[in-house]
């Protein structure tokens, strides 16, 4: 019997878990979904912004996982996370391309009018402003840098897994992440004048509540 997983704990015996899941063990699936579903969802949500689209992508990803496990097309060699998020990234890219093709002009007065999540609604007002600013800043990153940031923070992947996933050396991934964070920080600081945000000496983002 699999224990219900705490996502902050190291993974259980993944090869055994995947083998059980492939055989239709429901508890194994619960553990797998507990470990990964919200991380996959967050990756999709970060890029697509819509809850229903993010859930559809998540469903599609896990259907693929189930089909591949069942058919034996996937063999666990310690790279499940990389594979799972590669599938996710491909789905997200497909959706992002589709959105770009069907993009409609946005009324400037509604610019950045994404729907806030309940978690953001519940956030402290100053933090909500920070997160909004951060979302805007992320749109300014190029796709490659943004993917590294999203895989790291939304997907919760280790840098090693990200390196495997995108086929780049670890050093390159670290450098890309570092560069992206610096860009985001600069972008957030540029917004200071208008919105009263800033960073203190340790880089902690703050916002003046007016």
């Amino acid at each position: 019997m699999w224990a219900m997983s705490d996502p902050t704990c190291p993974e259980p015996d993944l090869p055994r878990l995947l083998a059980s899941a492939a055989g239709g063990d429901e508890q194994a699936w619960r553990v797998l979904l507990g470990l990964y579903s919200r991380r996959v969802y967050a990756m999709a949500k970060s890029r697509c912004r819509k809850d229903d689209v993010a859930e559809e992508i998540t469903q599609s990803v896990f259907c693929t996982v189930a089909a591949k496990l069942k058919s034996g097309d996937y063999t666990e060699q310690g790279r499940f996370e990389s594979w799972l998020f590669r599938v996710t990234m491909n789905r997200v890219r497909d959706e992002a391309r589709r959105l770009r093709r069907h993009a409609e002009p946005t009324d400037p007065s509604n610019f950045d009018g994404w729907v806030q999540s309940p978690a953001e609604d519940a956030a402290e007002p100053h933090d909500r402003g920070t997160l909004d600013g951060l979302r805007r800043a992320m749109q300014g990153l190029n796709d490659a840098d943004r993917e590294v940031v999203e895989l790291r923070h939304h997907g919760g992947l280790s840098f090693k897994s990200i390196a495997e996933l995108i086929g780049e050396p670890l050093g390159t991934v670290l450098a890309r992440h570092h560069r992206a964070l610096r860009k985001l920080k600069e972008e957030m600081e540029r917004g200071d004048g208008a919105e009263g945000r800033g960073t203190d000496s340790t880089g902690e983002i703050r916002r003046t509540v007016r």
């Binding site: 902050t8 704990c9 998540t58 469903q59 069942k70 953001e120 956030a123 923070h153 960073t199 340790t202």
Partner: protein, 179 residues
Amino acid sequence: MNVNQHMIHDGDRTPNELLGIASALDRLAASDRASARAGLEDRLLIMTRRELSTRRDPESALSDRALVAGSITPTSASRAPAARMAASVAVLIGGGLLAALAATWSGGFPGSGSSSVTPVAARDLGEKLDEKFSSVVESVVTSDPTAVELRTRLASAETAVSDLWGGVDWNGGSEERGW
């Protein structure tokens, strides 16, 4: 403690002045993870269970997915005929395209610059078509469209398929597909 903290030391050399941004990104990610509709894992569990069970006919698979999405309930069964019709039309279009693909298998695709279509490219296109039509059919099922909307969506699906058709690497398949 959030999901990201267990791997914060995995080679990360984020300098102090960027720790604030890194922490804000973690909070943003936590917010996105928390924003999923309640019961996400349960819905996924139903889907994966069905995926693992014996492969069923497309129509029942379609209604399963709609049920999981919460869009069809026993009281809204009147939507089913429209959904079935949409599914049939989509399958016909998809089938026609796949037949065209089979016809070009040995002779090459006009304008592709290649003398033959590789199995990888064919499989790639097949997967994309499958994905595209699944999403079209699902969107039709979930919104219960009028006949006019239905025609518009099918026209848009045809355009999307044309885009796919032009985007396939006929010599090797999509470079972005990792499996």
